[in-house]
Symmetry: C2
Subunit: 237 residues, 2 copies
DNA sequence: AGGGTTTTCGCCTGCCGGGCATAAACTAGG
DNA sequence: CCTAGTTTATGCCCGGCAGGCGAAAACCCT
């Protein structure tokens, strides 16, 4: 990540042309549904179409640094719960400029309400408008990846608020998976792996009554995978 | 992957400099141990050091295409069981040439013996020589990733020969994990998920005798993840 | 005080990973 | 042919975990 790369044998004048590095992100958050951040283009190409937020990488800048800069400068997103590289691909669609596109997945915690500029909006992942540059495929892959991560890691820490009830956490899972998830089992599974712990606090009951819910929080705010290693575990355990 | 990327708002003369896209691969295979392919550099920089095989990307070429081309042209590797992108990073260590380095993980099936040029060699992952450009870190991350994939997918199809006994398959796992794996349980787990099936054939016993082992093969030769979805499964199942 | 609502706790069940003992199948040597 | 040794396959059993269900707890409103 912070290491040097190999230099070519004979860079010189080089028969190879150069590319402009570009980053862009599938930014996901959960409200009552799963939403992604789209940016309405006001200039050609693809004028008046939607696309993923992103932009050029400056020399001397790390790719992740460039991604965070664009999220902060262009769409006002500073509170990123988790940022992860998806894939890179070469895009030579424009004859004058060869682009090398590195895409990211960014997860925004609930409760962080970035002040969006007027040309960016949240859109439900299930009802996307027409998006340019084949970005719809990237959003689909990001959604699929998120589903996987939620089922074998504590990735939900990056989508949930800092403290939450089991019901609220289950709502996050339901928005991503698209079907009902039991708050009871969710708490048991995550708790057994030591990823989730009660804070001791309680919420006041809603206007309809009901027992006050206990407040929980994730024990770690970085990604921890717990499940897959169970398949063939080391002998000492 | 094959889609277009966003074009900048104002490419023009552009205050942004351009980078040379480079690909390189952590090529892994299993003999009696886990090995990776290294390339001895004969020219500066890092002369007489080892590094990962790879090279420049041509314009109009996909990243994966460039990776396969370099594996075939430079190190004679054409039989790649699985090829997957790891991560990309910007490397501006050289003042005259800004590199954008995309690294891959390549798995070579047992039995495929590429004809290596004299400047490339297999090295045990546990006893690496001095490698340049921080590539040692990339090899470590690739190894870690492979461990994860073996435990929740059929990724071993890309390391094992087309047909094999359970003992031989367990040897592959042991070389990657570093500890003993039971052939019996391995066959049961992979068989239950429908990833592994007996071919009906049998091997002749070795010179020391023993019951002839049944021959197995993977049912699919592309990556299938079976385990993680068990955590919170869809309601209809 | 009582009915309605939401959360929490406890019990039960079925499945799966995984260890172990036993049976099966073969080689080599006498 | 028979036996000892070696390797693989099969069946059984145990513990743990996901997950469903019902009962109890705790609260609101009337």
């Amino acid at each position: 990540m912070d290491e040097a790369a190999p230099l070519p044998d004979a860079p010189g004048p080089s028969p190879y042309r150069l590319a402009a590095p570009v980053v862009n992100a599938v930014v996901l958050r959960v409200t009552h549904r799963l939403e992604t951040l789209l940016w309405r283009r006001s200039r050609p190409p693809a004028e008046d179409c939607w696309s993923l937020p992103g932009g050029f990488v400056r020399q001397g800048e790390s790719l992740e640094g460039a991604m965070r800069r664009h999220l902060a400068e262009k769409v006002g997103v500073t509170d990123v719960g988790h940022l992860e590289q998806l894939d890179s691909h070469s895009a030579d669609t424009h004859p004058e400029l060869w682009l090398l596109d590195v895409s990211y997945l960014a997860l925004i915690p609930r409760g962080a309400e970035p002040r969006l500029p007027p040309d960016t909006e949240w859109h439900a992942v299930e009802e996307l408008p027409t998006v340019a540059f084949g970005h719809a495929g990237a959003i689909g892959r990001a959604h699929e990846r998120l589903r996987g991560k939620l089922s074998y890691s504590n990735a939900a820490f990056a989508l949930a608020p800092p403290r939450f009830t089991l019901r609220e956490l289950a709502d996050v899972y339901e928005a991503v998976f698209g079907y009902a998830v039991s708050p009871t089992n969710l708490g048991r599974v995550l708790g057994r792996d030591g990823l989730l712990a009660p804070t001791g606090g309680h919420r006041r009951a809603g206007s309809a009554g009901g027992r006050p819910a206990a407040e929980f929080a994730f024990t770690r705010r970085e990604l921890v995978v717990s499940r897959p290693l169970a398949a063939f575990k080391p002998p000492d355990t």
